[in-house]
């Protein structure tokens, strides 16, 4: 049987490189969803991973770090929050 392809649509999916059932500890929304102030997931609402290995929506974390009361500490482990450098990100 010969089949002639008239048209085709490419579909792709993506998700952040974190455990699938992990949520942002600040807003409690799944990482593949957005922080509460964004509408669409993706590069506009990235996640941020600390040297302590705790991750958050970037917007959620920045809002926390802006506050004086945060003293620059990770909301999870209270160590000074430092972003994991790009070369240090372990990709799987």
């Amino acid at each position: 049987m010969k089949v002639r392809i008239k048209e085709w649509n490419a579909v792709s999916i993506w998700h952040w490189n974190v455990s699938e059932d992990e949520v942002c500890g600040i807003c409690r929304v799944h990482f593949d969803g957005t922080c509460p102030s964004c509408k669409y997931p993706g590069d506009d609402c990235p996640i941020i991973i600390g040297k302590c290995n705790h991750s958050f929506h970037m917007h959620c974390l920045l809002k926390w770090l802006e506050l004086e009361t945060s003293r620059g500490l990770c909301p999870m482990c209270r160590q000074p929050f430092q972003t994991l450098g790009e070369d240090e990100v372990i990709t799987t």
């Binding site: 500890g25 807003c27 409690r28 593949d32 509408k39 997931p41 009361t69 999870m76």
Partner: protein, 177 residues
């Protein structure tokens, strides 16, 4: 995954229409995940307003066994970046609660962090009643009392809970509802 993303985006859109704030979303999540011991209950005076409610505590052991303590929770729009504001509505004799009802609990003040939930705050409150902390007092007299002698402190607490006096202060009767 895509479905989840679409759902998340959809949620974002519908909440924007209803103007549900980030704080309300997070409070809603915390409330659904609440798992309180049988000694604690929440009460929503206005079911439409999830940002203001009361928490009832009846300790089943410790100095305050048998008391009915009521706390008022007021959550502002900066939640979870700012802690909920918690006040004790009863005038009680407690080292970490002053006569105006202000509560001194580390996670409600300097140790607050946004990953803490309303559940952790409520459990923290219960802990204050099981193990009052004389090291970090708001009511200095009560703290000194506890430090000097647990037995005298216990007697004073018992008397205060019946609506009696400790020193010049008269306290609320919290044994009856």
């Amino acid at each position: 995954m895509k479905q989840q993303q679409a759902k998340a985006a959809g949620e974002g859109a519908s909440t924007a229409a209803k103007k549900v704030t980030a704080a309300q979303l997070r409070v809603q999540k915390d409330l659904t995940e609440l798992s309180l011991p049988p000694t604690m209950h929440t009460h929503f005076a206005d079911p439409e307003d999830i940002m203001n409610f009361q928490v009832f505590l009846q300790p089943d052991e410790g100095f305050y066994v048998g008391a009915h303590i009521t706390f008022e929770f007021a959550i502002n729009l900066n939640f979870p970046h700012e802690p909920p504001k918690v006040k004790c509505l009863n005038k009680i004799y407690h080292p970490n609660i002053d006569l105006q009802g202000n509560v001194c609990l580390n996670i409600l003040r300097e140790d607050w962090k946004p990953v803490l939930s309303l559940n952790s705050v409520m459990i923290g409150l219960q802990y204050l009643f099981l193990e009052p902390n004389a090291g970090d007092p708001l009511n200095k007299e009560a703290a000194m009392d506890l430090q000097k002698s647990r037995a005298t402190f216990a007697a004073h607490v018992k008397n205060s809970m019946r609506g009696g006096y400790v020193g010049p202060e008269k306290f609320d009767d919290v044994l009856r509802r």
